[in-house]
């Protein structure tokens, strides 16, 4: 029994539709009662919508919608959208992160104005991300990317009376505008070479050959730039530390986990479908070797992210850089693709996707812990974290899980996902990439363990006062911690699903 036999084809986009409707419903609630302080209704609606969309995606994924077992990917609206295993897998990441963020925001925003706007922006951004995962045409890629980005700018600047938040939002917007310009220019160049925006058609045209290899190369590079912005990869990463630090912590969690994953979702599809490596590496007497480009970006991104993280004094900023480092690891998924890779290509891409899922839990959890600390008003530096474990042992335990999992230590999900990623990179012959990744992971242990040391070992310099026990934040943090731990024993089905749906792209 598959959903396809009973549902019309357009229903395959149900996760995106549910999210969009949820966003509209939130606006409706806000319109009916604009001055409401009923935070619970808004947060509940948003969480429910995210969970419903995630549930549908999981149901489709188990049922085999858009996968080979039920007749392959479902193309909709003149091939502008496609629903397949990969888009559903990423939808699962976006919606679970969104749910955690909205639950946590219930406490974080308790005293803020414009709550209805906040939740609807989050949900609209999530809709955009879901559409990014489904985009099958460069036009929809651009539109959905903007749909995800524009709410993000507003969200970063959400604390209107906080200078840091405003400044971060403006910088994010400026860099975003520049990147969008680069991206749109790249799309136009590719269109100029191939005469099409639909990804499979681009590939088909390129297979016939072209003389304009330089134009194509520039276009591909600029498109890659657009994705590098979304995933916070070098050299488009400059916005990330500022935006993550200035934004409200739940927004930082949202951007660094879901938005980054969305960037990867669309990058994976565009590069593997529109620019197949075997075609573009031998075209018109030249070569557009994007695998080399991403290998370069991966090494630089993970090294820069980790080195910069090591010297931070501010925990949130440290996490911002660590999230840049993790973008470097995830880029291995594209960097380790080879012309004659065969099954190994699907394996490494799937491993990268599985890592993004695990990362979604541990990184969101870490930022939400910071949200909790901000809520307590303890400060942002490592010293301010001294002795937290004595006051809030459960939350500190969860944070310890996130830190060690981010560093890639067993027995947490981050260990096995990073292991699978490096292992499949070695299988593809990129042992040096795995080696750089391993060295960087070792370095990352230094700054992650600083947090753990501060929380558990150091004595607080001044008496710690922890006011409330925010229920929503606790629920979200503990949920993320449990997810991070359970993804170790439960990693087998995750990686198998990811690698199967990734293999379908080649």
């Amino acid at each position: 029994m598959t959903p396809l036999q009973t549902l019309p084809e357009w229903a395959a986009t149900a996760p995106a539709i549910v999210l969009a409707l949820t966003g509209l419903a939130l606006l409706l609630i806000d319109t009916i009662d604009p001055d409401s302080t009923n935070n619970g209704l808004l947060a509940g609606t948003a969480t429910l919508g995210a969970l419903a969309a995630g549930g549908i995606a999981a149901w489709f994924l188990i049922g085999g919608t858009g996968m080979e077992s039920t007749g392959g990917a479902i193309s909709l609206y003149g091939d502008a959208l496609v629903v397949d295993g990969m888009s559903l897998f990423f939808t699962l990441i976006f919606t679970s992160v969104t749910a955690m963020v909205t639950v946590a925001s219930y406490d974080y925003l308790a005293d803020e104005e414009y709550q209805g706007e906040f939740y609807s922006l989050v949900i609209f951004a999530a809709t955009g991300m879901t559409l990014m995962g489904m985009s099958n045409s460069l036009a929809t890629v651009f539109v959905s990317l903007e749909l995800a980005s524009l709410p993000s700018y507003a969200l970063v600047a959400f604390l209107k009376k906080d200078r840091g938040s405003i400044e971060a939002g403006l910088k994010y917007f400026l860099i975003g505008a520049l990147s969008s310009a680069v991206f749109a220019f790249g799309i136009s160049l590719v269109f100029a070479v191939t005469g099409s925006l639909v990804l499979p058609e681009v590939a088909a045209t390129l297979a016939e050959g072209t003389e304009l290899v330089g134009v194509l190369g520039l276009g591909v590079l600029m498109i890659a730039g657009g994705f590098a912005f979304k995933t916070a990869s070098v050299p488009f990463h400059f916005w990330a530390p500022e935006a993550y630090e200035g934004a409200p912590a739940p927004v930082s969690a949202f951007l660094s986990s879901a938005s980054k994953a969305a960037g990867f979702a669309v990058a994976f599809r565009v590069f593997t479908v529109a620019f197949p490596l075997e075609t573009v590496t031998a075209i018109g007497g030249g070569s557009v070797d994007w695998s080399l480009l991403f290998a370069l970006l991966a090494v630089v991104t993970m090294t820069l992210g980790n080195f910069a993280a090591a010297t931070q004094e501010n925990v949130k900023r440290m996490l911002a850089y660590s999230s840049i480092g993790h973008a470097g690891y995830a880029l291995i998924g594209l960097a380790a693709i080879t012309v004659d890779g065969g099954a190994a290509n699907g394996d490494v891409l799937g491993a990268s996707m599985a890592h993004l899922l695990v990362y979604g839990f541990m990184n969101t959890g870490a930022f939400l812990f910071i949200a909790m600390v901000e809520k307590w008003g303890l400060g942002r530096t490592f010293e301010d974290y001294n002795g937290i474990a004595s006051k809030a042992p459960i939350a500190a335990t969860a944070m310890t899980v996130f830190m060690f999992s981010l560093a890639g230590l067993p027995p947490f999900g981050g260990f096995v996902s990073k292991y699978a990623l490096f292992y499949s990179a070695i299988e593809s012959g990129f042992w040096w990439l795995a080696a750089v990744g391993a060295v960087n992971s070792a370095l990352s242990l230094f700054y992650y363990s600083r947090v753990v040391k501060a929380m558990w070992i150091e004595e607080p310099s001044k008496p710690l006062e922890i006011g409330s026990q925010p229920v929503g934040l606790y629920v979200a943090v503990i949920f993320a911690a449990v997810g991070t731990v359970l993804l170790l024993p439960g990693f087998q089905p995750v990686i198998e699903t990811a690698q199967t749906v990734a293999a379908a792209l080649f």
């Binding site: 910088k171 520039l218 590079l221 050299p235 500022e242 007497g285 070569s287 910069a308 993280a309 010297t311």
Partner: protein, 673 residues
């Protein structure tokens, strides 16, 4: 086939259960958990007897119980049980001695008001269980693991009185010295796996069988270091032998054993008779099918054995404390077993392992009884005249001493004589090395007779030389009972394999042990080993003549030693004659300076090397690590500086980065052509 052998795992598990009970609930139980231990070992003993008879009836058992690491297309690591005549005999010995030691401990520990009894009985239980697990191990890795457990338990028990100075230090020494040997054993285990892909003792994949086939060219194995099969097997055999030499206290790793006398006396009995020290020799017997393939290893085993036998016996001659004498006698007797194994006398060595277990347990328990009587004074020069005060102990001890000295018809005579006989005939068959080993073994018989009876006369005969000796502390049934049982066994177990009688008088079929060890897996029985032995036999005046001459000579030496002891020490007021030895006395007192040179090796050779390595570690390795971290932090600081906070800088850098990528990739990809 459901039979008694299916209960074999229980033999190992029962003492382990008693360990858990004593550890967890010992303090709430009467006698500090002793009864659980007695019950468990008694149960194991009954099962072992049943197993023994089942094996006598021709049953065997070789089964994998649990695979704890499954190799994908490589090696499986398993736990399994191998019950054949050798292991079933050893099971009986170990469980019996363990049972008697438990009972004896009631008198030695409980009645003396020792504290920490649950810990003591937990240690005994685990010790017994580890040894039994080692005995029934069906592969070398499992044997190694239990071998290590045995070592751990001996550490815990030797250091039982941890609040005093001596015991913890002795325990540490025992642990470290045996660990030194085990290090080679571990490499040997890995080498066996690497060479054969299997470490099973029996069955189609048994590594001795594979080795035999490899030497016959029927099967290929991995050899390393560019060696041929024969040479490589010799290396592997010697590596494993490292563990044996450490555990069985053979020269030069024997130094831990005399110190181990710091442990409670029942523990010494267990260590010397049935568990720790026996483990080494048992291991050689267990994988004899492998050793027998490499003549060089056999010759080395024989030489180590013969030399140790003589060397330790001479040191036993001058000791003042009763347990020290016994300690050196143990080293010496295990030397005989190694000699027997090295000289191709598999049955003889196994025989001696059995008889020695009984008479040495007896002697230690007897010494324990004397020590109780003497209020824990172990100096023989303070004893004397105890014969009339404690007759049961005296007669039992005498029985053990006659066995140890090798006086006919006590157990030790038959087994020691057979060891020497096998060495002699194989030596005469054209192996001069064995003749040298034989000479050392024979000479050791004289010293054995001497120190044994010196000990007996000083302890029990003559006039009491101290107040406590005049009025000794009484002992109860729980001491006398085990002594009586072992006294009878020490007198009679030799009768199970009266080879000289068989050969001299032509009575067929009284070599029961030999027949017993013949009935087993075809690759594990004495008959198979006899075919593989690389020695030929030679005789003086025919087989019967050689038997007669050999037995007469060894008995003569033993009696000679005993007679000298009688002359010197069986007088009402014996005096120390050691001064007559002059400078030799000093050498003997200091145990040939064995400890001193080993300490010198540790402090004079190893320590400077360690210092250099430490310098290397601190300076170079740590320096590199520290250097990397400071470079990383420095680089991190630089990276941080790129992030100026000015958004136009970011835009510029972004554009520059994109341009750099464009130039690089474009030049590589020929975009500008």
């Amino acid at each position: 086939m459901a039979g008694i052998l299916d209960f074999a795992p229980a033999i190992v598990l029962l003492p382990f259960l008693s360990f858990l009970i004593a550890l967890g609930a010992g303090r709430y139980m009467p006698k500090g958990g002793a009864l659980a231990g007695i019950g468990a070992t008694a149960g194991s003993f009954v099962l072992s007897i049943a197993t023994f008879f089942a094996v006598s009836g021709g049953q065997t058992y070789n089964q994998t119980i649990y695979t704890w690491a499954e190799g994908l297309d490589a090696i499986n690591l398993t736990f399994g049980l191998l019950i054949d005549p050798l292991s079933s005999m050893m099971l009986v010995i170990v469980t019996l001695v363990a049972l008697l030691v438990h009972v004896f401990s009631l008198g030695y520990m409980n009645d003396e008001g020792e504290t920490g009894l649950p810990r003591y009985y937990a240690g005994l239980g685990l010790f017994t269980a580890s040894m039994l697990g080692f005995v029934v191990a069906d592969n070398l890795l499992m044997a190694f693991m239990f071998f290590e457990l045995v070592g751990l338990c001996s550490y815990l028990l030797i250091g039982f009185h941890f609040r005093q100075d001596g015991p913890p230090s002795a325990a540490k020494k025992a642990f470290l010295v045996t660990r030194f040997g085990d290090y080679f054993f571990l490499i040997g285990v890995v080498a066996v796996f690497a060479t054969f892909g299997s470490a099973a003792f029996a069955g189609p994949d048994a590594f001795p069988v594979l080795a035999e086939e490899a030497l016959n060219g029927e099967h290929s194995v991995n050899t390393f270091l560019g060696m041929g099969e024969q040479a490589w097997f010799t290396v592997v055999g010697l590596l494993v032998l490292g563990g044996v030499v450490g555990k069985s206290a053979q020269f030069p790793l024997h130094t831990w054993l005399p110190d181990a006398m710091e442990g409670p006396t029942p523990v010494s009995a267990l260590i010397h008779a049935a568990t720790m020290v026996a483990a080494g020799v048992y291991l050689v017997a267990r994988m004899y099918g492998f050793y027998v393939l490499t003549p060089t290893t056999l010759a080395i085993i024989a030489l180590i054995g013969g030399f140790t036998a003589l060397f330790a016996a001479t040191m036993g001659v001058v000791k003042k404390e009763i347990k020290q004498v016994l300690a050196y006698s143990t080293i010496s007797q295990y030397g005989y077993m190694m000699l027997g194994l090295g000289a191709g006398g598999y049955v003889a060595a196994t025989f001696h392992l059995m008889t020695h277990a009984f008479f040495k347990a007896l002697l230690f328990l007897g010494a324990g009884s004397v020590i109780i009587a003497m209020h824990h004074n172990e100096n023989m020069w303070d004893m004397g005249g105890l014969k009339d005060k404690m007759p049961v102990t005296y007669y039992a001890f005498l029985s053990g001493s006659l066995a140890l000295a090798g006086i006919v018809p006590f157990a030790g005579f038959w087994s020691k004589d057979e060891v020497l006989y096998e060495t002699l005939i194989h030596g005469l068959g054209g192996s001069p090395i064995l003749l040298a080993a034989y000479a050392m073994g024979l000479l050791a018989v004289f010293f054995t007779g001497f120190y044994t009876f010196r000990m007996v006369f000083l302890t029990f005969h003559g006039e009491p030389r101290s107040g406590t000796a005049r009025d000794p502390h009484g002992v109860r049934w729980n001491v006398k009972g085990p002594l009586a049982v072992l006294g009878v066994l020490a007198a009679t177990t030799g009768l199970v394999n009266m080879v000289p009688v068989e050969k001299l008088f032509g009575i067929e079929g009284i070599d029961f042990l030999h027949q017993f060890l013949d009935g087993s897996f075809s690759s594990l029985n004495a008959h198979h080993y006899a075919e593989l032995i690389p020695y030929s036999s030679g005789y003086i005046g025919g087989e019967a003549g050689t038997v007669a001459i050999g037995a007469a000579v060894s008995l003569g030496f033993a009696l000679g030693g005993a007679a000298l002891a009688h002359v010197l020490y069986n007088v009402p007021e014996p005096v120390e004659h050691t001064d007559k030895l002059g400078s030799i006395k000093t050498v003997l007192y200091n145990n040939y300076y064995q400890d001193e040179y080993q300490v010198w090796i540790a402090t004079g050779v190893v320590q400077p090397i360690s210092r250099v390595l430490d310098k290397f570690d601190q300076g170079i390795v740590d320096g590199v690590v520290n250097g990397i971290s400071s470079v990383s932090l420095f680089a991190g600081g630089r990276v941080k500086r790129i992030q100026t906070g000015v958004v136009s800088n970011y835009a510029a850098l972004l554009t520059l980065g994109l341009t750099a990528l464009l130039l690089g990739l474009g030049l590589l990809g020929g975009w500008f052509a």
